[in-house]
């Protein structure tokens, strides 16, 4: 089985991941759709969030139209939708909205963090027409893989978001457990809780999932070979569903751990299969793997 080629391109979140994260944050319906075509021309009132690595190098940006920044900034703390409309029309965010949008961009750093890429964090958010630092202007001319979305925040309005890596760095996968690699792995972002029989509990984020196992970024407090119960909050099309399975740690690395599923009910297997098929690039292959289980 050939190795999965991870790259910033397939690491970037799609509409579902972005919409789901915004929905969790704002507690309301958020719809996101891929915007076809090339990235839009940068407008003077766009808000540019800059993400840097631990050396301060610009690694990624998230560019939001002022309409989206206002919608997100207002919805986060339930300001009136009218305030979002006014801010959008004036192309100027009041302080609270600006702070809230900053917080959303801060949390959005997770879109660029994966086990296969350098750690990045939000450095700053700039409005384009208020002057951009020279390194950022240079970076904007070197966009790498990108994902552009149209986003609608229920009651608060719409706008566009461009997530982009800077440059074209290709990250490499680390060594994997060969048995798990034999199954199609879908990139996901789903909260998990790992509980050991002695009561230790680890929160983590499932970063990829197959019908037989998962890779989870988390604290490495579980031992190699440890048995645990894995609670996965599966982000499905009709909402979040909890899945509980028995699992065993089969690999530890500097970023997290891989688990193999050891005890899976029919219902849990069906949910996991549904999620992997939804996220995988080749759902037919996943369907075949499920039939052969």
């Amino acid at each position: 089985m050939s190795a999965v080629a991870y790259s910033p391109l397939n690491d970037l979140p799609g509409p579902y991941e972005v919409g789901n994260m915004f929905r969790i944050l704002m507690g309301r319906t958020v719809s996101a759709k891929t915007r076809p075509g090339s990235p839009s021309t940068v407008s003077g009132t766009d808000q540019v969030a800059v993400y840097v690595d631990d050396q301060g190098e610009i690694m990624a940006i998230c560019l939001c139209s002022v309409g989206l920044a206002a919608a997100v900034g207002a919805a986060l703390s339930m300001l009136s939708p009218q305030m979002a409309d006014e801010a959008s029309a004036r192309s100027e965010l009041p302080e609270t909205m600006r702070e809230n949008h900053y917080e959303v961009m801060n949390i959005s750093a997770r879109f660029f963090n994966s086990p296969y890429s350098p750690h990045v964090r939000l450095q700053a958010v700039h409005q384009v027409d208020q002057g951009l630092p020279a390194p950022l202007r240079t970076a904007l001319g070197r966009l790498g893989a990108w994902s552009q979305l149209d986003i609608e925040v229920e009651d608060y309005g719409t706008g566009t978001m461009l997530l982009a890596h800077i440059g074209q760095t290709m990250a490499q996968p680390t060594a994997e457990n060969e048995e798990l690699r034999a199954y199609t792995r879908a990139a996901i972002a789903a909260e998990v809780v790992l509980a050991t029989p002695d009561g230790d509990m680890v929160m983590g984020m499932a970063r990829d999932l197959s019908i037989r196992g998962a890779y989870i970024t988390c604290d490495q407090v579980l031992d190699m070979g440890a048995a645990c119960t894995l609670l996965l909050f599966a982000p499905l099309a009709d909402g979040q569903r909890k899945v509980k399975v028995g699992a065993q740690v089969v690999r530890l690395d500097g970023q997290g751990l891989a688990v193999r599923f050891t005890m899976v009910s029919e219902e849990a297997q069906a949910t996991i299969g549904e999620l992997v098929m939804m996220k995988a690039s080749d759902p037919d292959k996943v369907a075949q793997e499920i039939r052969l289980l």
Partner: protein, 120 residues
């Protein structure tokens, strides 16, 4: 139960309050602080049973708050609720005595699972 939320983002404090309600902990007393320094004052004042703290905050960050509480002999459980969630940070938090670590954004289910041991 008395719960202290420590986060420099007003919106995030509100979101944590909302998640606490949704997780079934709405009847408890909830207090807020904007940073670790302020939190130390609130701990003195209210003697909370649980602290939920952001990691990155001005004046005094969450890790400094945890270390300060520990150095004073405090046994109040403190969990991090933060957007920064590298494995290294999780290890540091655990080594320093943090009770749990939740990455933002989080659902009320995740909060419920993390807090359940403290409400038994």
């Amino acid at each position: 139960m008395r719960i202290l939320i420590v986060d420099d983002s007003r919106a995030m404090r509100m979101i944590i309050r909302r998640a606490l309600r949704q997780a079934g902990y709405g009847s408890h007393d909830v207090y807020e602080a904007e940073n670790g320094q302020e939190a130390l004052g609130e701990v003195e004042r209210h003697q909370p049973d649980l602290v939920l703290a952001d990691w990155n905050m001005p004046v005094m960050n969450g890790m400094e708050l945890l270390q300060s509480l520990t150095s004073k002999g405090s046994r109040i459980p403190l969990g991090f609720v933060t957007s920064e969630c590298t494995p290294q940070m999780r290890r540091r938090a655990r080594d320093a005595g943090a009770s749990f670590f939740i990455a933002k954004p989080f659902t009320s289910d995740v909060l419920q699972a993390a807090l359940a041991p403290f409400f038994r």
